[in-house]
Subunit: 205 residues, 4 copies
DNA sequence: TATGAATGAGAATTCATTCAT
DNA sequence: TATGAATGAATTCTCATTCAT
């Protein structure tokens, strides 16, 4: 249902219509919420008509589904690249945590939309998105467990709880991060990684 | 605008109408979201008419505002009781983190509602709620800073970042906690407190 | 249904409750219109409760009916006093026109309310008010006709049309008169009387 | 917001939807008042759905605004055509007064709507309409003043007051005129013009 | 006399979606 | 591919009035 050929009638900018719609929708959903944003607003901001939107997306829900799909795909690939890479579990864990934070900050709007709108979707879509997110969390949890086996992570903590602990901080970023604030994404990533890893690390005697 | 006298006309149960409305609204908002829940649904579930609701609350937003007010008041008082109590900063920090988790789990619906609906409110209400939440976070941050001064908390971490780190985990609870899951609130509270405090603690040699 | 005993609980000022309600209602109806003014607003402004209002007046319509009744009674008595008094028809006509203008300006709010709200009333009430107004116009028309018989008013004009002509100007006063404007009520009364009488007078050779 | 293409789907009659809505709304507003007429009634009578109405008009107020706009435009053009035409001031004044009366009677419903509903509009719209009406009155006032300069109108009357005097009679027409009454519009126009002009004219010796 | 909680019917408006062109 | 008029159902909120106390 989604094509990518560049629109014939060049509107706002040169990007293909579906991409423009997604970008605009992401921005508006993040700013005002999914339900507060009308299809009319989206198409106006994207410089197209409703008919055009319904040509590319089957519904308003479909828009958000696509936003989720892209975000989760991106994050999953990034995590897997690191988690399946070289190094000790502790090293990969540190690299992954910092990377997740930085990449989340780079796509903050998408994350905010997901946080605020997931519960509004039709149940079966919601289930789909949750399943994908679970796979993602699971890969992280496995890394923690690997750390326990290699002796760098405390054996007495629950890998599940540790994963929730970390992703809580990640999902919370959208609530307080300001791009004009004192801390740079890199610093935040390293700061959170340090605290998190310290929190689950075996104490060096 | 809210009185507490028990309704004269026999309604669903004995609680005063405003309380009944708030309880029902909290449950529905948490389950389906604020925007997906109609005023009609709320009053039907509470066994009153729309007119009655608008007699006590000036709008649908007013309902959610009141839910927030009660929740934040509760949490603030609880945190202050502990933070201003006896013991070293490290002891109070541990007690407070575990308590926040347990009390959040005890009012999970309210927290979920706040998380999902805050961004829908009128800007000035949102600002108000955020200000109150900021005071709350600030009290926690001060406790972390106090720990740094007494030497129990690492000097190289940012108390702000640490606070966000912890409250991220707290706000995330509603996403994964199931009352029929493996972990009891107490255990979760202690597990998170352990990880968090370990993460920011000065390493004992 | 309307009593006049002074209210026991002295609210806003000392006037009896029904009078206070009528005064407040007149002011509000004139300012915002009948339908835009809620019963709640009226009772709030009068410093009483809804129950009290419904004790004295059977409905919101009843309030306006009473405003009309008082205004029309006042004007009718005033007109009759002059019309039935001494002097030539021409003298009485001049006196009456000036007096109607002055008295209309003195009760401008009531007149505005009548103008804007008459068409909203239940048909039988409307018919009642119109009948009373017709009697009032009729008395004026008779005076014009008397002028024709005594030779001071042109025979070729329609007394009906002349009456409408004059009362048009009177009803229009509320649209443009400002108490802080350049002209005093007395001057307006005399100006309008002069123009009107000149317009219908037999030309003196 | 208003297009004129004839509706595709077969509706009541052939006129474009916006025109049909305005015609129907004018009739209903005049008969029952603006506030007593629901949007549902209007769209039912026009044979369209509410959605269609809101496609063309942004609100119920917008309907009335458009009715005003059309009426005032019509009357202004008509008055200017005469006032700026040939002839002495006295001649143009007579022609204008008669014409205003006849044209007002030809659009009686619109005038009644304006009289009864202007005070209900949002302040800034009201101000806009009043400004336009003021320009209209001003053109008439200028004509009276011109008559004073040419010596045909008495110097001791206020052109302002004379204008209010005349437009009072005009606005009052809707209150008493019946199309099945004894007087034809032409006769009423001439009768009122005669009285008005006589009232302000310099007496011929 | 007076209170004010509660009713219940109805108001305007919004909006995702469809479909003839 | 794209348009935009039209649908129709749902939504929040208002308000005159009643009635147990």
């Amino acid at each position: 249902m989604v094509t990518t050929r560049t629109s014939g009638r060049g509107a706002a900018d040169g990007a293909p219509v579906p991409d423009r719609l997604l970008a605009v929708a992401t921005r508006l959903f993040a700013a005002q919420g999914f339900e507060r944003t009308s299809v009319q607003e989206i198409v106006d901001a994207a410089g197209v008509t409703k008919g055009a939107m319904y040509h590319y997306f089957s519904s308003k829900d479909d828009l958000i589904r696509e936003i989720y799909r892209r975000l989760l795909g991106l994050q999953t690939r990034s995590l897997e690249r690191i988690a399946d890479g070289p190094g000790t579990a502790a090293q990969r864990l540190r690299e992954a945590t910092a990377d997740v934070v930085v990449s989340t900050l780079a796509h903050l709007d998408d994350g905010v939309v997901l946080m605020h709108s997931l519960h509004l979707l039709a149940p079966h879509i919601r289930a789909q998105v949750r399943a994908e997110r679970r796979r993602y969390h699971e890969r992280f949890r496995a890394l923690v467990a690997e750390g326990q086996r290699e002796g760098s992570v405390r054996a007495d903590i629950s890998p599940d709880l540790a994963t929730h602990h970390f992703f809580g901080a990640v999902h919370h970023l959208g609530t307080w991060y300001r791009s004009d604030g004192a801390l740079r994404p890199r610093q935040i990533g390293e700061g959170l990684a340090e605290m998190f890893l310290n929190g689950i690390a075996v104490q060096r005697p």
